[in-house]
């Protein structure tokens, strides 16, 4: 009896010790830092947020820095460091800052920091890809009080809030007397973003830790490690081996296999990147247009809207996205993705109609077709070389003797921008269609930044006027309406031939959730764990 009692006591004692140990264990378990490891598909070249404007850089910089205006996952503008903004008059925008926003060093954000950050891009003269295109419209800036900034533009300019979503706000105190190197080393990398910089190893990895005083939704992760895994195979194997929790840009060929793997899940969504064909519409003799025998043609059939329409009808977009693109794209009717500001849903995807295409070619005086070489890059977009080949085959079916030439991007862009091609493929990602239209179908005027990527040099004063009106509208509704009209007018004229919108994909370890973003960015603070 006694023995039993003592035995019980003994047991109870050990149970208590065990409970304590287990308790400590779970305590250790819960206090163990939540870490997220991400495999990036492209290198982040700098932590200086005003030095080199590239997609991968901007995606990363959003973790450390904020902008006045933020962009949600669907590409719509939402409040960032500015709580609200309003056009006081046609050429003055007023931004009201959030109160009590803390930088990583504990100091508070003020209008002075904003003015400093807006002026900084123009001061970095050795920048390879400058942010000045976003700050250039501003001719005067003024801090009305600690939390109010007024910006003046020379002419009415509606897209200013959108432009400012690309300008990161830095701490004046931390940055004033330093340079780009001090950002990469750490001391100047003081932002207001959800994470602060711990270490930046160029070309290899970046370590971040949560900013505890962050003004927005508290991220789930104590630490975030980015690893640069630019090649497809190592990126995928790092996910499969559990070295990283999430990768962006899942290799196309492995997507199907990954979907059946129980240890990982895949997120896909339509992105802003829209592909379309530029057609030479300014030369009377186009360099890659020939007759059926291969001799240069005296007139340029691509100047005839019926021929352009025929080419558009000859493209079986459904087959293209299902086969050549392995389902990694959707057919396009606009040159901006659905949901993007100014997308015109009244424009329908051109139906596949080879008979109609032949008829239009005959009407235009080419019943037997003509010869044409298609150009495209082979290392830029999803299955880009296959896309060019497929379209060439489809054109052959309606009588156009199409040939194919694909080149690496470094060679392709230079030649294409010099308008050396007759029909060439381009992909474009933008958050506003008036911007896209200005660059792609606006009458080329390099000094004003119009038509800078209008390889075929399409020109239509009516389209220009509508795009101009859109850019000058400080009312978003009015601006979107003008942009839609401009898109309709240009595409009715087959200024370019829309092809498809690309999908982006992310591979995640089971137990994680990421909805993806239209701008293809990977945000650690938008990754959540699920049970």
């Amino acid at each position: 009896m006694v023995q039993l009692a003592s035995g019980t006591q003994f047991g109870a004692h050990w149970v208590r010790v065990l409970a304590l140990v287990l308790g400590l264990w779970t305590l250790v378990g819960t206090t163990q830092a939540a870490a997220l490891k991400i495999g990036l598909a492209a290198e982040v070249t700098t932590v200086d947020p005003h030095f080199f404007n590239t997609g991968p850089n901007n995606a990363f910089l959003h973790h450390v820095f904020d902008s006045l205006v933020d962009v949600d996952a669907d590409g719509r503008l939402i409040s960032g460091l500015a709580e609200s903004w309003v056009a006081v008059d046609a050429t003055t925008w007023e931004f009201r800052l959030r109160k009590g926003v803390k930088f990583h060093d504990g100091s508070e954000l003020s209008a002075e920091d904003v003015l400093f950050s807006l002026a900084r891009p123009a001061q970095l003269t050795n920048s390879p890809g400058s942010y000045t295109s976003y700050t250039k419209p501003i001719v005067a800036s003024q801090a009305v009080d600690r939390y109010t900034v007024r910006l003046r533009t020379a002419t009415p300019y509606g897209p200013l809030p959108l432009d400012l979503s690309s300008i990161f706000i830095v701490s004046k105190k931390a940055v004033e007397k330093t340079g780009t190197e001090q950002f990469n080393a750490g001391p100047a990398a003081i932002g207001t973003g959800p994470f602060r910089l711990v270490a930046f190893h160029k070309g290899e990895r970046i370590e971040l830790a949560r900013h505890e005083a962050y003004w927005g939704v508290r991220p789930e992760w104590d630490t975030v490690h980015f690893r640069v895994l630019a090649s497809d195979a190592p990126r995928l194997s790092a996910l499969l081996a559990g070295d990283v929790d999430l990768i962006e840009a899942v290799p196309t060929a492995d997507l199907a296999r990954l979907k059946t793997n129980p240890r990982v899940s895949v997120t896909t969504r339509t992105t802003w990147r829209t592909l379309f064909w530029h057609l030479d519409q300014f030369r009377d003799r186009s360099p890659y247009v020939t007759d059926l025998a291969g001799k240069p043609l005296d007139r340029n059939p691509l100047k005839d809207v019926r021929v352009r329409r025929a080419i558009s009808k000859a493209i079986n977009r459904q087959a293209l996205v299902e086969r050549s693109l392995e389902g990694r794209a959707v057919a396009a009717s606009n040159i901006n993705a659905p949901g993007i500001f100014g997308y015109n849903s009244e424009i329908a995807v051109e139906a596949y109609d080879p008979a109609g295409a032949k008829k239009l070619l005959a009407e235009a005086g080419y019943p037997e077709g003509f010869g044409l070489t298609l150009h495209g890059p082979n290392n830029r977009y999803i299955n880009d070389a296959q896309v060019v080949q497929t379209v060439a085959q489809l054109l052959n079916r309606v009588g156009i003797r199409a040939k194919v030439e694909t080149l690496p991007l470094s060679v392709y862009f230079g030649k294409a921008r010099a308008s050396e091609y007759s029909m060439a493929l381009l992909g474009w990602g933008s958050l506003a269609s008036d911007f896209t239209l200005r660059s792609i179908v606006g009458t080329p005027d390099a000094d004003r930044g119009w038509g800078t990527w209008n390889w075929g040099r399409y020109s239509n004063p009516a389209v220009d006027a509508l795009v101009q009106s859109a850019l000058e509208s400080v009312s978003p509704e009015q601006r979107e309406d003008f942009a839609r009209q401009a898109a309709k007018l240009a595409l009715d004229d087959v200024a370019v031939i829309p092809s498809h919108h690309q999908l982006a994909s992310w591979g995640l370890r089971k137990g994680l959730k990421y909805d993806g973003r239209v701008d293809e960015f990977t945000y650690a603070h938008e990754v959540r764990s699920v049970k």
């Binding site: 080199f52 920048s127 400058s130 070309g203 640069v228 630019a230 190592p234 070295d243 474009w428």
Partner: protein
């Protein structure tokens, strides 16, 4: 000997100048990096500003002249992409690559010479034949495939080793090295093995055929007749003679390991120089490509010089202007 070294140095300068001219012209001919660098919405003014900032607004001979005059002062230019000195970017990645190359070479030599020697001494045994068959596999399989298989087996299936990247590094004399920690070795062993495999096969075959040939030589017979032990015959007389071609090959191959281990570095996401070269070429970052290739030329020149000096140690006839012949 001093004259020999001096002559080599003059040759080196010639090679460097010719190389710089070729690379400069080559990268210039591909196209302008501005189209890849500058924001798509840039105006002429923005483009002109960027071109001026990078020195691309000048005619090509002016650009080359500027490069040469700066290079004489030891400045190989700033990277277009990173805005920092190209040579600094390369040197920052040199330790990772050197470490990988040295470990791979040690594996190749450390295993290759004994295995080749053994196969040469016992050519008709099962062991000898197995070694030779293995060496064929070693250099007929493509590096990228072996790398992927190593990852699939050891990282994905078995989960023993990480799939890529460089482990934690420890500073030694200012150099960040990963060979000083267990975790570092866990990251290093797969890429080093992958890189070593081809060289290993090469060294096995070289050593074996050298051994077979040496065994027929008179001096070996004399040595044997003199009553020297097999260990001494093989370890001193045979080995010393077959090492000359091995040293040449090791030298050349070490250069190529350092300069062009791009494939392995990509597959294992190893943050070395090879990947930097690849990225710089696709982004037309001319200063980095130029500085990189010039550095590699320099490396080869130094390696060749070292190889010649090692010859002189192994074979006293070399380096005396051939007077021994």
């Amino acid at each position: 000997m001093p004259f020999f070294i001096l002559r080599r140095c003059l040759q080196a300068v010639n090679v460097l100048v010719v190389m710089s001219l070729l690379v400069f012209a080559g990268v210039y001919a591909i196209g302008s990096p501005l189209d890849l660098l500058v924001d798509p919405q840039a105006t002429t003014e923005d483009l002109a500003r960027a071109a001026a900032a990078l020195g691309l607004d000048q005619p090509v001979w002016v650009q080359y002249g500027r490069f040469l005059s700066r290079a004489l002062g030891g400045d190989l230019g700033d990277s277009f992409i990173h805005g920092s000195p190209a040579i600094g970017l390369i040197l920052a990645r040199l330790p990772a690559t050197l470490e990988l190359a040295v470990v791979a070479m040690l594996i190749a030599v450390g295993l290759g010479v004994p295995l080749g020697l053994w196969a040469g001494l016992h050519p008709d045994t099962v062991g000898g034949r197995t070694i030779m068959a293995g060496s064929i596999v070693g250099f007929s399989l493509p590096t990228f495939w072996v790398g992927l298989m190593l990852i699939m087996v050891f990282s994905v299936q078995l989960g023993w080793l990480p799939a890529g990247g460089r482990g934690p590094t420890t500073e030694l004399f200012g150099l960040p090295l990963s060979v000083l920690s267990v975790e570092g070795w866990r990251h290093l062993i797969l890429p080093a093995t992958n890189l070593a495999l081809f060289k290993l096969a090469l060294i096995i075959r070289l050593t074996r055929s050298g051994t077979r040939e040496a065994l027929q030589q008179d001096y070996v017979r004399f040595a044997r007749a003199k009553g020297l032990s097999t260990g001494r015959v093989v370890g001193v007389h045979v080995l010393k003679n077959i090492l000359i071609p091995v040293v040449t090959v090791v030298g050349m191959e070490f250069g190529s390991l350092v300069a062009f281990s791009v494939v392995t570095e990509s597959i294992f996401a190893w943050p070395g120089m090879g990947k930097l070269l690849l990225d710089s070429i696709t982004q037309l970052d001319r200063p980095v490509v130029l500085a990189y290739l010039l550095l590699i030329v320099l490396l080869y020149i130094v390696i060749n010089l070292v190889v010649d000096l090692v010859y002189a140690l192994l074979d006293p006839r070399v380096g005396r202007g051939g007077s021994g012949r």
